[in-house]
């Protein structure tokens, strides 16, 4: 239990720091920004209660918002993404997952983890960019930005998951 909390806390701090100090400054071809901090929500253990997931999603979104001067935008899209996380796992993986395991290649399978990540990130990015474009609407550019950012984020998360030795070794 303590281990879980500590692990979650470290994930939170490290991912937020990486996001606000490094990744927020990356704008590949001026359209794509990877949002790696979503990895925190993705890796919460299966069976975490719905309200906890929603709350922590909101929290990490709010912290990222504070650093990138976009109050409420990340918080909104993260809360939505956190809310659909559990139904999504049920839909993709069925009900026979043991409680308390961490989503990873080993527990979900390569295809399963990829689909899970992809759907989750598409939901988050579409909401985020739609909210952002409330001030300035430009459909073509918006679509390009969403697609490009989804691709970079998914690539980054899948790569990092492949190198995440801890989750491969224990698988739980």
């Amino acid at each position: 239990m303590i281990n879980n909390i500590l692990r979650g806390f470290i994930y939170f701090v490290v991912l937020v720091l990486v996001q606000v100090l490094i990744l927020n400054n990356i704008h590949f071809l001026r359209v794509a920004t990877p949002f790696l901090y979503l990895y925190f929500i993705l890796k919460l253990p299966v069976g975490t209660s719905g309200s906890n997931v929603v709350f922590f999603s909101f929290l990490i979104g709010l912290v990222v918002d504070m650093f990138s001067n976009t109050p409420g935008m990340h918080a909104f899209s993260c809360t939505l993404a956190g809310f659909i996380r559990q139904p999504l796992i049920l839909l993709l993986m069925g009900k026979d997952l043991p409680e308390g395991i961490y989503p990873s290649y080993k527990t979900f399978g390569y295809g399963g983890f990829f689909r899970y990540t992809l759907v989750f990130i598409v939901v988050h990015h579409v909401t985020l960019f739609l909210i952002e474009s409330l001030t300035f609407f430009d459909p073509l550019f918006l679509t390009i930005r969403i697609v490009a950012s989804v691709v970079t984020t998914v690539l980054l998360i899948c790569t990092i998951e492949a190198f995440n030795i801890g989750s491969q070794k224990s698988g739980d």
Partner: protein, 293 residues
């Protein structure tokens, strides 16, 4: 019987509420987020949730301190260039002064008003947080209320206009740069006196559009665009950029100009915040005038 039914119903209802409590939390947090989005879109004044608060500001200034070393060569080159320009200007002015003095040296009645002075002064600040690719971009700088910075002050770099101060905390302030649809700047083509509105097109950090410029204004590609001075924020004649392209607007009476911005927002390190100590006076006078409408 009906009491038992009622109890059963209440229990079911309670059960339902407890089981679905993450739904309520979800709705609550979403509403909270929307309030934040809406309030800050309406007017960016919330210090608590912006990068001008103590923790985020401190972290940004540490990272800004580290990254500032990476651009020293470029900054040095720019400063040398600027220095050269200013030296040239100084020489020119000195020469003019000499000529004028030679003209007026015998005229003892020339007594300039010593209370008349340039109503602007500068505060130098370092950029600690910056974005160029969002739709609404913001810049955080490391000077705040303690250094005399107030909301609605203009901000310039060594090359040209940057933006306007929006939120101020004790040691940090957030600037709305040209790269933000909320910011519209009154500009004119240098040499003419007709003005238009400069706003960002949301895509490229190097370009912005100058709209509503009357058709009969004469200009060419490559002409400089400067501030018009029709606000209490920027003095007239600060460089904004240069004209790279123009086309007629759809209503045909105005030009829309594409302007290459003079300030390189992607490599912004030092800025100057302009203090205009007559700003309050001007705004109050204007407000007074509008009240009578």
């Amino acid at each position: 019987m009906s009491i038992v039914n009622c109890q059963l119903f209440m229990r079911k209802l309670l059960d339902f509420l407890v089981r679905k409590r993450h739904w309520f939390l979800f709705v609550l947090l979403e509403v909270l987020s929307l309030v934040l989005v809406y309030r800050n879109n309406a007017y960016q004044r919330n210090i608590m949730f912006s990068s001008a608060n103590v923790i985020t500001g401190y972290l940004s200034s540490v990272s800004g301190f580290v990254t500032s070393y990476l651009n020293l060569r470029e900054i040095n080159r720019e400063l040398l260039e600027r220095n050269g320009q200013l030296e040239m200007e100084l020489l020119e002015l000195q020469e003019q002064l000499e000529v004028m003095r030679a003209d007026t040296v015998l005229f003892a009645g020339f007594a300039p008003d010593s209370t008349e002075q340039f109503p602007y002064s500068f505060v130098m600040a370092d950029v600690v947080n910056n974005s160029v690719t969002h739709l609404s971009n913001y810049i955080t700088v490391n000077k705040g209320r303690k250094d005399g910075v107030e909301p609605d002050m203009g901000v310039v770099s060594e090359r040209g206009v940057v933006g306007i101060v929006s939120t101020v905390s004790d040691h940090f302030s957030v600037v709305i740069p040209l790269l933000n649809p909320k910011f519209k700047l009154s500009c004119k083509v240098a040499g003419s006196s007709y003005f238009g509105t400069l706003s960002w097109n949301g895509r490229n950090a190097r370009f912005a559009n100058l709209d509503e410029l009357p058709r009969h204004v004469e200009f060419e590609k490559g002409d400089t665009v400067v501030t018009s001075g029709y606000s209490a924020i920027f003095p007239a004649g600060i460089i904004v950029g240069k004209v790279v392209d123009f086309k007629k607007q759809h209503d045909d009476n105005f030009y829309s100009l594409e302007v290459e911005l003079a300030t390189n927002f992607q490599a912004l390190n030092n800025v100057r915040i302009i203090k205009n100590y007559r700003q309050a006076e001007q705004i109050n006078t204007e407000r007074e005038a509008k009240k009578n409408d």
